[in-house]
Symmetry: C2
Subunit: 240 residues, 2 copies
Amino acid sequence: MANLNPHLSTDCVVFGYDDKELKVLLVEREMNKRGSVSNFQPDLKLPGGLVFNDELLKDAASRILKELTGLEKVKLVQFDVLDSLDRMDKATDREWLEQTTGLRIDRVVSIAFFGIVGVIREKNCKAGTHWVKMSEIKNLPFDHEEIIKRALFAIRQSLKRDGLLFELLDEKFTIHQLQNLIRIFYDEETDSRNFRKKIKKLDFVIPLDEKQHNVAHKPAQLFRFDRKQFSQFSNTRIIF
Amino acid sequence: MANLNPHLSTDCVVFGYDDKELKVLLVEREMNKRGSVSNFQPDLKLPGGLVFNDELLKDAASRILKELTGLEKVKLVQFDVLDSLDRMDKATDREWLEQTTGLRIDRVVSIAFFGIVGVIREKNCKAGTHWVKMSEIKNLPFDHEEIIKRALFAIRQSLKRDGLLFELLDEKFTIHQLQNLIRIFYDEETDSRNFRKKIKKLDFVIPLDEKQHNVAHKPAQLFRFDRKQFSQFSNTRIIF
DNA sequence: ACCCTTAGCGTAATTTGTACGTTAAGTATT
DNA sequence: AATACTTAACGTACAAATTACGCTAAGGGT
């Protein structure tokens, strides 16, 4: 019963950041014989593939992400369904899928997930994976550029509403780190002094009796995120 | 090519209201021979069914909704994907699907849509359809109760963010009607005088030179919704 | 004529948000 | 060792938004 379903696939848009920039995780697509389709740059795509018939979509997304990139335990959230009839129209795309799966492909509906890893640590990823800056993404196959656009939109909403922001930080974090994260995802500049006041009023951001070490400035107090407090809060209000 | 895909279905949760109460549109499920499964009340389910292979999911949802209920031109929004492996576990559910489609059913992933009609006008619906109060929904087959719960959660978010609220009102509406609608969907009581002030500041709620007629109180001014103004607004802020 | 209901305006008090000034505590530089 | 540089952290004055509530208006119903 463990057959691949030729009608169902998943795609993952995994975001990470590095210092100041937002990046997306892409994998090289290898064509069988005649070499890569594009000669200019490695042929990149979102990590994705077909789903087994007895497999949950979320599990499929995790499995495929691990197979293609080596990344494990990434929190994945389903945010869209791609069903347009022309998504396999580019001949090379369909050809590639048929070659790599050994199946005859007509229509594929893809369930899209976004994922977030905190600060990017290159060593965790397999060879053939690339963290690409948002501004430098181009010439992706299928409808992958469109998917990324929608993923960014969805994640922006989710980060604030579902407290996903805090998944991106270390367990102990400073207010400055939190603000920096928001700047990266939303391009909004806010006054750090007022930002601090806002955060200090939130019951689910809990101050610790600890400070930073070895930083080239006054060490900041550390905080932690309280999931339970947050879920009470988020039912009534929208934050940030 | 126009084959039903035995792995893909859609379900619609259509909300409507009547005076003071929120209701959901259900249809009777007819078993072929041995009569209905439950003897207590007509066996009800969400309007849903299998998708054709060359059909967009949204189109499938619209088509099925019309076939089963007679309702047309309902705005449908995709909000979830149901993929759990045990959703066909109840024998009667699988049996019913196999009987009505003539296909062998193993796994079915269902794409869930919510829809909204304004004030319910019974005459528009076919026989065998029922508008059921939220509080009286029970004993639905498959995972339909879970779907409804999630639909309510999703629509609450969408109503405010996407301006879907205004789709539920007549083209010309009063501030009181708008407030009443919010009360129905969110159970929140707010001061009507302050609510009025809030609405009057919104550029996309445009006052008309018209009043109500034949009401047992002071006739209210009518307003209309401006979609363009709204979309500018909604990019930056969240309302209500 | 009087009651009931919703409409619609206004005002004062409170809360929240914004724009800054200022001092503190570390590392890096000279 | 003094100075510069960076982020931390507190406070204050003002502006803007929200809230609570009083009051009059304009219909139809009894």
